[in-house]
């Protein structure tokens, strides 16, 4: 068995065809993660009573769960319980009709919320407390201080870690093939079941992912330079 370029090319085309699914699996969780993650991070940094502790425990514990195990559990519950839920809500759809990709998006979203909230929390904590005090002392409310002073400074501080999490999310999205969602990896190996050349299929998938993460990292570099403009740090 040698490396067959024709099989590789075919697998590559199949992988690219399912690229939009991977994009959905990355960017929907990313958007949800950014929104809810910021809320969680703010709640924890500004120590909203009770919620602050609960969120802390949830984030710490949930980060210990491997994504593939979480995915299997959600998929199982989805398959067993969706029909009952649909009946309850009078939705005329069965579990078989709903696209499985939403289970994947759900699992990845929870992971994204946790990791992004930690990244943002770290960035928030790196901002000096005096900045809050300065905001209050000139008569801004707490919300105004957060919106106008803290968040604009937090963004450039959070971007390097956030990009790491985005790359992590891209890579994590590959495990959804374990519950039968067709994305890049599963797509690239579709021809392999006919040709038995799994190696070419997986190499094709790897090349697509590799290119994707390199593009994201290059974009990150541009973004970082752009958002960090006001810092005037000569070392950036």
């Amino acid at each position: 068995m040698n490396f067959n370029a024709a099989h590789f090319y075919e697998s590559f085309l199949y992988g690219i065809r399912y690229f939009p699914n991977t994009l959905r699996l990355v960017f929907i969780p990313l958007a949800i993660g950014l929104a809810l993650g910021t809320v969680i991070a703010l709640a924890r940094v500004y120590q909203v009573p009770v919620i602050n502790k609960l969120l802390g425990i949830f984030v710490t514990v949930y980060q210990g769960v491997p994504i593939v195990v979480a995915l299997m559990i959600y998929n199982l519950i989805f398959m067993l319980k969706f029909n009952d839920l649909a009946k309850l809500l009078h939705i005329k759809k069965s579990a078989a009709e709903v696209d499985h990709i939403w289970v994947g998006i759900f699992a990845l979203s929870l992971t994204a919320i946790c990791s992004i909230s930690e990244a943002i929390r770290g960035a928030l904590l790196s901002i000096d407390k005096g900045q809050d005090e300065a905001g209050y002392s000139i008569g801004l409310t707490k919300v105004q201080t957060i919106k106008r002073i803290i968040i604009p400074q937090m963004i450039p501080a959070a971007i390097p870690t956030l990009i790491n999490h985005v790359v992590g999310l891209i890579k994590a999205s590959s495990v959804v093939m374990a519950i039968g969602i067709v994305e890049i990896v599963a797509g690239a190996t579709i021809p392999s079941s006919r040709t038995y050349s799994f190696f070419e299929g997986y190499v094709a998938a790897a090349v697509i992912y590799w290119a994707f993460t390199i593009v994201i990292e290059c974009l990150a570099k541009v973004l970082r330079r752009h958002t960090g403009k006001f810092r005037r740090n000569p070392y950036d």
Binding site: M1, N2, F3, T60, V61, Q63, G64, V65, P66, I67, V68, V69, A70, M72, I73, L76, I77, L80, K81, V167, I170, K171, A172, S173, S174, V175, M177, A178, V185, F198, F199, Y202, V203, A205, A206, Y209, W210, T213, I214
Partner: protein, 232 residues
């Protein structure tokens, strides 16, 4: 199927799953020990700027960091036999057990990730310290061991800890190439009894406990290694 989750089934599963934890632990031990050695070689090659090898290693590290663990696992699982079988006329997929491929993948993966951590730690120490060490007559190795290494360990420790937590989680992927770890065992229990949720929940608990233990351990190690520095 009557009840979705039954405690009696949950407790029945514990002795069936727990022995397979050793599979996970061995993967982590091999990956960490050989990964550290591999990473040390990679960092050495990068620092000495060895021609040919250096750009090759750059591509290797970038590949390992830019592609999913799952895909790497599959490439090693199908790729090593594809490369070696035609040359030696062997059949490695039958000859080696699947866990061997898992070891190789995790060692290669950890080598790349750890090399990035170590490289960052080494280069964060000002070069003046090396010069100072050499100027007082220490050899290059002595300078490294007595001056650079103690500082390096402290810098590299936190990222090393989170990498280890990630390694434990990634090891749950090996069931996809047919290695029976705790996850694979949970799946096979599910196939046999049609009740898999209890097994999965127990697996989740194991991972959570491991993750919390590792974090706590590194938290205390970190404090230990402050060397009397003031903590802020």
């Amino acid at each position: 199927m009557n009840k979705l989750f039954g405690w009696e089934r949950f407790f029945e599963n514990i002795p069936k799953i727990l022995p397979y934890l050793s599979v996970t632990l061995w993967i982590v031990v091999y990956a960490t020990v050989f990964g550290v050695i591999l990473a040390a070689f990679i960092v050495l090659a990068e620092l000495k700027k060895i021609p040919v090898l250096n750009p090759f290693l750059k591509v290797y590290v970038s590949f390992m960091r830019g592609t999913p663990m799952l895909v790497q696992l599959m490439i090693i699982y199908y790729g090593i036999p594809a490369l070696i079988d035609p040359v030696f006329g062997t059949n490695l997929n039958r000859g080696w057990s699947a866990v061997t491929f898992a070891y190789i993948t995790f060692i290669l993966n950890q080598g790349a990730f750890l090399s990035a951590i170590f490289y960052g730690a080494v280069t964060s120490i000002p070069y003046g310290q090396t010069e100072a060490g050499l100027s007082v007559g220490l050899t290059e190795f002595q300078t490294f061991r007595r001056i650079l290494l103690p500082q390096m360990v402290r810098i590299a420790l936190p990222p090393f800890g989170s990498d280890l937590v990630g390694l434990f989680q990634n090891s749950s992927l090996v069931f996809l190439i047919g290695v029976t770890d705790i996850m694979g065992r949970a799946k096979s229990i599910g196939a046999a009894t049609k009740h898999v949720l209890e097994a999965y929940v127990f697996v989740v608990m194991i991972y959570i406990v491991i993750s919390l233990t590792v974090r706590l351990l590194f938290y205390y190690l970190n404090i230990k290694l402050e060397y009397g520095r003031e903590r802020t």
